[in-house]
Amino acid sequence: MSEALRKEFKSALNKVSQAFDALGDFTTFSALSLATIIKKPSAGTMIPICFRVGVQSVPVVAITGMFIGMVMAIQVYSQFQSLGMATQIGQIINVSVIKELGPVLAATMLAGRIGSSMAAELATMRVTEQVDALICLGVNPLHYLVLPRVLACVLLIPILTVLANFMGVFGGSMVCTEIFKVDPYHYWQNSRGHIQIWDLSVGLIKPIFFGAAISLISCHRGMNSRAGAEGVGKAATSAFVWSFMSILVLDFFLALFFNNLHQAIWPDNSIKTFGPK
């Protein structure tokens, strides 16, 4: 083996080892943070964080959700119109929004809005020694800083996703019925038979995982920030990048898992719907 090749191999091996180190560090951080749940976080720490994660995200999530539905309607309408199936368009919009686009895009928006801000805030606290000050005052930073953020995201991101889904369905229906003049009665009649309770449940379970991933990754990045403005900036950027990637990876594996579970429970593909099929 030539010297250059050996060096390359060694460097690749180092990178793999570093990646495993980072994964191990993140896993430990997550486990230790979640373990602090044995002591309930105080309302004084939870309420401001819930306000920032939940209430202040409402406009962003609502607008994102509505435009997802509206854009879907515009993209899909011409194909359905050419097949003479314009009144069926609601099915595809609603199923796409509720099963995939709503949860994933709402989570992505929240990763940008909440995740980056959490990472930047905790990174600033780290580099200005506020985290050390907490430890000196006998307070566990994982319990005081990380746990409330994780709980807020896990509890509120599913609710925000419901809002995004609702706004997506509403936006799609407005474009179809008001702009493309699809008959509203047929639009809704054809739509409602295709949303399953299962789809709604999956659409609500996924954001719990997305919320946990966003908050844990962002807090981990923030708490392990390097010193200085550059360190804080990098923490915020990497929090978003890693959160976004984890959302997509989780979405894939969750979709796979829930499809298999659905197959296992209802092998004949019988479905529970809100209306006639």
Partner: protein, 276 residues
């Protein structure tokens, strides 16, 4: 103040060393701090003074050797016991490290809310007392740290550190970035704190006025990068009078702020780099 006889090894470093990413910052440090003493730590930037403070309160674990507090090795303590012991310390950080999201009142009350059974009325009374003790007015309590000047932040940081009546106070460059008058105010507060409660103080500083005013004992560290492998890093340990009389050139250069030799050293390094 001679309570030192009661416990001469209240804080103790035994061959303690600290390295970051394989680079030694502190090496084989040995000294004891008796109870009640005010120890001032001086030395150039980057010689490990802040790291020393963080080792003393177990914010960092020594890479080698032992750090003992009240006879107990920090490494031998479990998490709960470590936390209990840490509450016997107060730490005034270099930038005060006030919690940005909380008001001054909440910052000072933080330790009480976390660890005492005081009701809000008692907390309010104690916070007010501490804030007045550090020479601040009541009107500052509703402000956020971002609205305070550097000196005000340091004083509020001190009030927060003192609220749980610590036995040991750690000051990390308490006067850095302050004007001469505010520097004197902070020095007076360090003295006043020692007078008001039986506290052992460790003050990290570059400020010679602080050394003059508050020190019972002074130690000086030298950066490892400029020492030979077997040279001790602790180059001075004595009283303030002894500090100013010591013949050690490195100490005298630091005290008098002489950069001439250092500039020559840097130029030699640059010339060598250029030549190579």
């Amino acid at each position: 103040m001679d309570s030192s006889s009661s416990n001469p090894n209240f804080l103790s470093l035994q061959n303690a060393g600290m390295a970051f990413n394989g680079v030694d910052i502190l090496r084989n440090i040995n000294f004891n701090i008796p109870k009640g003493q005010t120890l001032v730590v001086i030395g150039e930037s980057g010689c490990g003074k802040t790291v020393l403070l963080k080792l003393l309160i177990s914010l960092l674990q020594a890479s080698t050797g032992k750090v003992l507090f009240d006879g107990q090795d920090w490494c031998a303590l479990d998490e709960q016991r470590t936390n209990e012991q840490r509450l016997r310390f107060g730490f005034l950080f270099q930038g005060a490290a006030l919690f940005d999201s909380l008001t001054v009142f909440d910052n000072v009350a933080f330790g009480l809310r976390a660890h005492s059974k005081c009701d809000e009325k008692e907390i309010e009374k104690l916070v007010l007392m501490r804030v007045k003790e550090v020479g601040m007015k009541e009107s500052v309590l509703g402000k956020k740290p971002a609205e305070l000047s550097g000196g005000m932040k340091k004083r509020i940081g001190l009030a927060r550190a003192l609220i749980l009546k610590p036995e040991v106070m750690l000051y990390d460059e308490p006067t850095s970035g302050l004007d001469p008058i505010m520097t004197d105010v902070i020095n007076d507060l360090i003295l006043q704190t020692r007078k008001n409660m039986p506290v052992t103080s460790i003050v990290v500083t570059h400020e010679m006025r602080t050394v003059h005013k508050v020190a019972d004992r002074v130690i000086m560290f030298y950066p490892l990068s400029r020492l030979k492998p077997n040279e001790p890093q602790l180059i001075f340990d004595g009283t303030t009078d002894e500090l100013f009389k010591t013949p050690d050139l490195r100490v005298q250069q630091f005290i008098h702020g002489e950069a001439k030799e250092r500039t020559l050293e840097s130029e030699n390094h640059a010339n060598r780099d250029e030549a190579s």
